[in-house]
């Protein structure tokens, strides 16, 4: 029973971190109706960014994540300007394929640079004991950082002028333009923010899991599952979706082989998308 609780708490901690990546996915969807298929490389590249900063320059991993987050924001804006802006009004096939081609290009570069062998950040914060439960320090900090990121995103969206612009464009782009919102800049900013959230999540995951160039794909799929669970376009839903996924991931290995986890995750995903495509808590707020 106690070990069950330990698995559950561990899963929930992971769920917060997955939730951040999903928030980025769902923010981009909410603002511009684009499914970002380059989320995987943004996650993978930020893992390697943190790895390089920590291993080669000895930067503290959490400081490194902040630096990487800024780079993620800039990279996201660049991706939007080069690959997406031209097709933002085109049918969905175009935006899906445009973001996918970015993923292919960066995966190719990443594979050529780092090969596909696993990497690992040798960093530990010890462990935290709460009664019978022992938790890894890095995971606790990651979950706290994820919560802080969510809070910061909400402050930005609801308390600042650019944040209000983002919400206005998400609500109705044409109307926002009419009242003078610079919608092109806001779209680029939103994509950058989504990329930044992916980068933060990737960096946090890298502090406790080994990774390679292709790992991002796995977390991107999780982001889809979470995003659909919580309702596409609904960032708070994404965090809750992350917790649900974390629970599944924590509990299933207790009852059957770990290899069944993806069967349940994607089975659940397909079921939700068929019967409740707006997610458990409704789409866009």
């Amino acid at each position: 029973m106690e070990s069950l609780l330990a698995f559950l708490v561990d899963g929930l901690l992971l769920g917060f971190v997955y939730g951040v990546a999903a928030m980025g996915m769902t923010l981009i969807w909410g603002v511009m109706n684009v499914i970002n298929l380059s989320h995987n490389v943004l996650i993978a590249f930020s893992m390697f960014g943190v790895y390089l900063l920590f291993n080669n320059m000895g930067v503290n991993p959490y400081l490194a994540i902040i630096l990487i987050a800024v780079m993620g924001l800039l990279l996201g804006i660049v991706i939007y300007v080069i690959a997406l802006h031209r097709v933002i009004e085109a049918p969905q096939l175009s935006t899906l394929l445009a973001t996918f081609s970015v993923s292919m290009i960066m995966t190719g570069i990443g594979t050529a640079t780092w090969s596909t062998s696993p990497h690992n950040i040798e960093f530990s914060l010890g462990s935290l004991s709460l009664g019978a439960i022992t938790l890894q320090g890095t995971r606790v900090v990651a979950a706290l950082a994820a919560i802080a990121t969510t809070a910061a995103l909400y402050l930005f969206l609801y308390r600042t002028r650019p944040g209000r612009y983002v919400r206005a464009v998400a609500n109705n782009r044409a109307a926002a333009e009419m009242v003078g919102v610079p919608s092109n800049q806001i779209l680029a900013l939103s994509f950058g923010l989504g990329a930044m959230l992916a980068a933060i999540s990737g960096g946090l995951i890298a502090t406790f899991f080994p990774f390679n160039v292709l790992s991002g794909m796995n977390y991107q799929l999780k982001s889809f599952v979470i995003g659909v669970l919580g309702g596409l376009g609904n960032p708070i839903g994404a965090l809750v979706g992350g917790l649900i996924l974390g629970t599944i991931e924590g509990l299933i290995p207790r009852f059957m082989e770990t290899s069944w986890v993806p069967v349940f995750e994607f089975g659940l995903f397909v079921v939700i998308i068929i019967f409740r495509p707006s997610g458990l808590f409704g789409a866009k707020q």
Binding site: L93, V102, G108, T111, A112, L221, F224, S259, V263, F266
Partner: protein, 323 residues
């Protein structure tokens, strides 16, 4: 107009495939034959995908699932029950068709990005399921007993035969693709692509049309899956459901021109040849994925209609020949 002139558009696709077969026959080298085996497989898969992607306008990121499931089902009957290749291919195609029918009923009511997302989930779920499914060998997969090739005159003959069987199947796909495009059913699909609601108002029964388009696009990949893994001799979850191949099929269709009969044939041939030369060159070997990605991005941004679509748009005279 004479009757045969109406079907001028089928001429070039047929000539390409017959040309490949005759060329291989004349050179008579196993290496050339193997190379064109992959080209024909790519043509058949891309042309199949085109029925749902190009004609109907639904992006399926999971088309390789039909290839994989057909391969697994056919392989199961060959290796466990000792069925002949022909019956196994029939079962493979049937399995893929049934899966497409069920999936189509379930997810084709989703529009746009939701459908695309669902197919990504389907691809991952099916692969994860097969990896855990013990009758199909789980993560290790299955292997064919070498003796099975004797009824086809030995392994070398079986390999050679596979090529001609594939050529016949590819011809079948192309004729099917052309027939759909020329039919009233195909017209309904094109209408769905342009505006699904308007199509329904005009009397197209969209749910049925979409489901049948999905089934038609799944059957041949299933049959080819059985043939491919018969030739391969073993099957593993990793080989049967490569997500990357689903995407490569999309690149091929987009490259040649979605929604045309000739486009996927051209796209598949060019892409396979390009990939082959990139893989063997020292500079591009490691970043061939980047090159393919850059190519896809350029097409999406600047020539969304693909090569054939662009030619048809620029030179209306060619429209009768380039279908």
């Amino acid at each position: 107009m004479k009757n045969w002139q109406k079907h001028l558009g089928l001429l070039i696709p047929l000539l390409v495939i017959v040309g490949i077969v005759v060329g291989v026959r004349l050179t008579d080298k196993p290496a050339t034959r193997e190379m064109f085996f992959t080209v024909l497989k790519a043509i058949a898969l891309a042309s199949s995908l085109n029925i749902i992607l190009g004609y109907t306008g639904y992006v399926s990121f999971a088309h390789i699932v039909f290839f994989g499931i057909g391969g697994y089902v056919g392989f199961y009957f060959m290796s466990v029950h000792g069925w002949s290749l022909w019956l196994a291919m029939l079962m493979g195609g049937l399995a893929a068709g049934v899966l497409a029918f069920l999936l189509g009923r379930a997810i084709l009511h989703l529009r746009g990005a939701y459908f695309a997302l669902a197919t990504i989930g389907v691809n991952a779920a099916v692969q994860a399921f097969i990896t855990n499914f013990k009758p199909f060998g789980g993560p290790i997969g299955m292997t064919l007993n070498f003796k099975i090739y004797q009824q086809y005159g030995g392994a070398a003959q079986a390999l050679e035969m596979s090529f001609y069987v594939l050529a016949a199947l590819t011809l079948g796909v192309v004729v099917l693709s052309y027939a759909i495009r020329m039919s009233k059913f195909g017209l309904g699909l094109l209408a769905i692509r342009e505006d699904e609601d308007a199509a329904e108002v005009m009397g197209v029964i969209a749910p049925n049309a979409k489901t049948w388009a999905y089934v038609f696009s799944a059957i041949f990949p299933g049959i080819i899956g059985t043939l491919f893994f018969f030739k391969n001799g073993n099957i593993e979850p990793h080989d049967a459901f490569p997500l990357a191949s689903s995407i490569e099929m999309i690149v091929m269709v987009m490259l040649g021109g979605q929604g045309t009969v000739l486009g996927p044939i051209l796209g598949a041939t060019v892409y396979q040849r390009m990939r082959g030369s990139l893989l063997t060159s020292t500079i591009f070997k490691n970043i061939q994925l980047s090159v393919a990605g850059a190519l896809l991005l350029l097409i999406v941004l600047f020539v969304p209609a693909g090569a054939i679509g662009w030619l048809r748009y620029r030179f209306p005279v060619l429209r009768r020949v380039l279908q």
